[in-house]
Symmetry: C2
Subunit: 476 residues, 2 copies
């Protein structure tokens, strides 16, 4: 991947020894075999190097690590579950990697107050489970939830499958604890729904990708869970039909529609071909599909709502065909079709990826223009745009033509990416809807932000991290 290496000084052996002393030898890895899982991410797009992986066990240890880093000018890469898709959590070369996985305590759970306090290293699934155990819902939900961690989720303002109803990671947080670049600890662990006392520091750290401070704990907002859910798979004759159905579903029950995932026919075909035990969800084939989920606070109500909505949509010919999952097993089957989409692309050769958003109402025009644009570059390429339709967020991926050389195809990533991004920008969209900037899109940022916005962001960076030790070469 295209990355611009920042100049990062090599820490002295004395400095490394001082870092090691903070966490103890057991939690200071230097053996390449031990460090490996922290240095490569699962798609193998980024493979980093580091002299030292530190695993602090407390906020206090993180504080001492950053104080020392600041004193010695040592670059630090904070890392959660290592599931990021833009290389933000991977060091280039000489940075010390600070992995937060041992900060994995649920500090408190309060079902009546609808909050829980989780440390950065709690996995997303762990936070969901802690909420569930007291009869509450923590609604953030992403494909990597078994391994990604709360700290990383917040540092990247993760999105995922239920943003439509519940908002991004940012919306799930009431307060934060953050270790600043100089090691000082900001205790912003407030559990308030309303608090107008000064500037919003919380939202500045959320989404800053570890460049302004290291999030060590968060007060997460919980909800009473829905009492029933319905999952349905729908086929559409065109994108315009999908758009009309989305409007209809939103009108029928804003807040009840918890997911609206778009899948093209090619995606279904890839899954059927490469994922064992899957089957075509509908009798006939359709150019576009949606997987939707409807939730209700009343037992059994969700499926009644879903049925009424689908009957109306089929009768008015907005939907070509639809099926509501008759069991939890069938719902899981439907979700598997969606969840396998990333993996199955690996079996079809090279895949050029993007993660973009446009205003929701502009999705049909965006998709049709972007498909035309990539076909113009390479007529046989296979566009596979899918994802969070309800948020205007599409993973506009393109699989290589059958039989061509994978490396040669991937070498044209910038060309494809530029073509898609140009349409995104024309429509007022974002070149990184939910994955962030990391190393991957850092070179693009000045092209999509005004010089003024770049200047303000750089000044904020300098203010919070004057020595530039926090995740250098990422984001900005």
């Amino acid at each position: 991947m295209q990355s611009i290496l920042p100049a990062i000084a090599v820490p002295s052996s004395d400095t490394l020894a001082r870092f090691t002393a903070i966490v103890g030898e057991k939690y200071a890895l230097t053996d390449p075999a031990d460090m490996e899982r922290h240095l490569v991410e699962h798609r193998r797009l980024y493979h980093g190097k580091t002299p030292l992986v530190l695993k602090p066990g407390t906020t206090e240890e993180v504080s001492r690590i950053l104080a020392l880093a600041n004193e010695t000018g040592t670059a630090i890469v904070p890392q959660g579950g290592n599931t990021g898709l833009v290389g933000g959590q991977i060091p280039f070369d000489n940075e010390v990697l600070v992995n937060l996985e041992r900060l994995n305590r649920i500090r408190s759970v309060d079902p009546r107050g609808n909050v829980l306090i989780a440390e950065a290293g709690v996995t997303l699934a762990g936070a969901q489970k802690a909420a569930e155990e007291v009869g509450r819902l923590f609604p953030l939900s992403i494909a990597s939830e078994g391994s990604c961690q709360i700290g990383g989720n917040l540092a990247t303002n993760a999105g995922g499958l239920q943003v439509l109803a519940y908002g991004n990671a940012r919306a799930q947080v009431l307060g934060l604890e953050v270790v600043l670049a100089d090691g000082r600890i900001w205790n912003g662990l407030r559990a308030l729904r309303k608090d107008n006392t000064g500037y919003d520091l919380r939202d500045l750290f959320i989404g800053s990708e570890g460049t302004l401070g290291i999030i060590t704990a968060a007060v997460l907002r919980l909800l009473p869970p829905p009492k029933s859910k319905a999952t349905a798979f729908l086929g559409f004759a065109s994108l315009d039909h999908a758009a009309r159905f989305f409007d209809l579903a939103l009108e029928a029950g804003a807040g009840e529609l918890t997911a609206f995932e778009l899948i093209p026919r090619l995606g279904i075909e890839f899954v059927l071909r490469h994922a064992e035990g899957t089957r075509d969800p509908l009798a006939a084939s359709h150019p576009w599909y949606a997987l939707i989920e409807i939730a209700s606070q009343r037992v059994d109500e969700a499926s009644i709502r879903a049925e009424a909505l689908l009957v109306q949509a089929v009768e008015t010919e907005i939907v070509a065909d639809a099926v509501i999952a008759a069991s939890l097993a069938q719902a899981a089957e439907f979700w598997r079709l969606r969840e396998m989409l990333s993996e199955v692309q690996l079996h079809e050769g090279g895949s050029i990826k993007s993660d973009v958003s446009v205003p929701v109402a502009d999705l049909p025009v965006f998709l049709s223009r972007a498909i035309d644009a990539v076909k113009a570059i390479m007529p046989d390429c296979r566009p596979l745009p899918f994802g969070h339709y309800g948020d205007g967020n599409i993973h506009f991926n393109v699989s290589q033509p059958v039989g061509v050389d994978k490396a040669a195809f991937l070498a044209r990533w910038p060309e494809f990416s530029e073509a898609v991004n140009a349409i995104v920008l024309e429509l007022g969209g974002s070149i990184s809807a939910e994955h962030g900037i990391g190393q991957q899109k850092r070179h693009l940022l000045p092209k999509v932000k005004s010089p003024l916005e770049m200047e303000l962001m750089r000044k904020i960076k300098d203010l919070f991290d004057p020595r530039g030790i926090l995740n250098p070469g990422k984001l900005l």
Copy 2:
């Protein structure tokens, strides 16, 4: 009110002439009679002075005003509808007041995309109406909505009556246009649900009370409106019963419960005594009341939901008595009881006010301790805590004892305020839940924030406004 006057230089007559030239003489007020309505707020707690009131008609004019202010070191007070309750919008003495009321265009409305772009001077009611005209809901709702303006709502992160279901002003905004202290315009008018490209500048300006920049326009998030609503008035034997009912209502329909306003018996008595045409909402008298609203996306469903909930609550003796409004007229009557609460206190002598929040589950303990605390100061004082129970946000007001001297009572404001705030802080609460800091609570901020948080906020202020021209002496 206690205010600390910052040292503000008197602008020269040449500078004033240059400011006047930007907007034209017609929109540059110097006549005390013309300026009066901008210099005093309706409770008459703050009465400011200014050499000049400017009413720019475009973002460009705001930009030129701030460029000149920055050049000449002229202090500026931005003002919307002048409904703020902490004096943030009132100049001390020599500041030039920039009133945004002429920036009152709805730039665009997009019902399919569920967004509208409003300029800062559009009243909140105007934005609501623009949404309504295209079949959409803009859910921010506060008592002053007829006169307060979008710019002020966002600069103060306004709360109000429907935060429980829809969030604060912050949650209603997708993008902003802001004029910076040096006159440069940041165009952040994005209409995206997901955009992870860099630091969250938007949320830094929201709630900054005009001290970091002047918001000139915003992309507001719209929703399909509910198809039915039910309004009910409930009586409780104790605060603990109110708390149990809140939990029950939330469990029954999170997202459907759009308002949960707490009112003590004394509040009802004040309203009955001073507001013509009002009547006791329930047959017997109860120590505590709640006004609740339930919304549904289905026609006629809200009242069915409300009825089921209230039947359950009455049967389990959580609610002592309850009535669902049988008509829109009766719903309006119920709301009038709530809305008159601020005004009727004026007829009962001095009222010491606060606007605090605690974690929602801690409200009963907060209220009982705060009532004890003010009674300990003055046994005959009359606590009148009311407000947004569902957000943990209470306007903990205290009316003077009958027959004592008003001024002498009001002189003890700091003492009462400290007693209430001490309990708020012990419970991890906020001394300003929705009104902001302004001039009123500026001296309290360093007492409730850590030195580190104060330092970070001051550095951010210096970064955005190095000459200190934007609303000096407010907030920080």
